[in-house]
């Protein structure tokens, strides 16, 4: 009986340890999925951008300029801003309870009206959990040297 209790306790302890380790990884995977969905939305005339961007979105471009959420979404949906390629490399996520930070190198190719865009930049994204859903609160890029 004692042996069975010991084995049961050991099993519970091991399961708890595995669960404790897997929770952050699961959240990081969830954040990476949200990043993937964001890139897909940019390529797919903005479908899903409203759900991705927090109402409080703060969007700072590589040149230090800021953009309004409504204008960003409208530009993509209207085709004024059209991306042919949105690629991320060296992507990393860190989760701090209800705040997640993603960094990476972002490559964009597309057009804004008649102006072509070809840019490589360092990216910082801040995701926050709002009513159970991770939403993008900050997008900030800076020119990659």
């Amino acid at each position: 009986m004692k042996r069975r209790f010991f084995l049961f306790s050991l099993l519970v302890a091991l399961s708890s340890a595995v669960l404790a380790q897997s929770v952050p990884d699961a959240t990081e995977a969830e954040i990476m999925q949200r990043e993937k969905a964001w890139r897909a939305a940019l390529l797919n005339v903005g479908t899903g951008l409203e759900e991705t961007y927090s109402q409080h979105l703060s969007y700072h471009d590589w040149n230090g300029k800021t953009h309004e959420r409504a204008v960003l979404i409208a530009d993509v949906k209207s085709g004024q801003l059209k991306y042919q390629a949105v690629r991320m490399s060296k992507e990393q996520a860190q989760v701090f309870i209800n705040t997640a930070i993603v960094t990476g190198e972002l490559e964009l190719e597309g057009n804004y009206g008649a102006t072509s865009i070809s840019r490589k930049a360092k990216l910082l994204h801040v995701w926050v959990k709002e009513s159970g859903t991770w939403r993008l609160l900050v997008h900030q890029t800076q020119k990659a040297d």
Binding site: S58, F96, I101, Q142, A144
Partner: protein, 120 residues
């Protein structure tokens, strides 16, 4: 909450100017993402080592247009900053906009990201 973040921002500036690595060690989360204006990145350990060794020294630091917003357990501080510093013996002048991200961890605010973007 905004006031608390503003106080931390003021203390952060004082710590940089005074090479107070101990204060920064308390303020920075272990996994802080620290991106400089030239896109170079530091970890908490590598940044603090530069401050402690005086490899990185801030001489002057001015801030304008400070804006703090708190969203539950996440806070953002943005501002325009101009600073002069010496890094690895090379003098720098920076005119940039920085973003600080704070997360509420174990009853206190910790800085989890710093990113500075050069004004073009």
């Amino acid at each position: 909450m905004e006031k608390e973040i503003l106080e931390l921002e003021d203390k952060w500036v004082a710590a940089l100017l005074n090479c107070d690595a101990d204060f920064l060690a308390d303020l920075y989360a272990d996994g802080i993402v620290y991106t400089h204006t030239n896109a170079a990145m530091d970890t908490k350990a590598s940044y603090l080592a530069k401050i402690r060794s005086r490899d990185l020294v801030y001489h002057t630091l001015e801030r304008h247009d400070i804006d703090v917003r708190v969203f539950g357990a996440t806070a953002l501080a943005t501002c325009r900053w101009k600073q002069t510093s010496t890094s690895g013996g090379v003098a720098f002048e920076v005119d940039a906009r920085y973003l600080h991200v704070y997360a509420r961890v174990a009853e206190s605010w910790q800085m989890v990201a710093h990113q500075s973007t050069k004004m073009v």
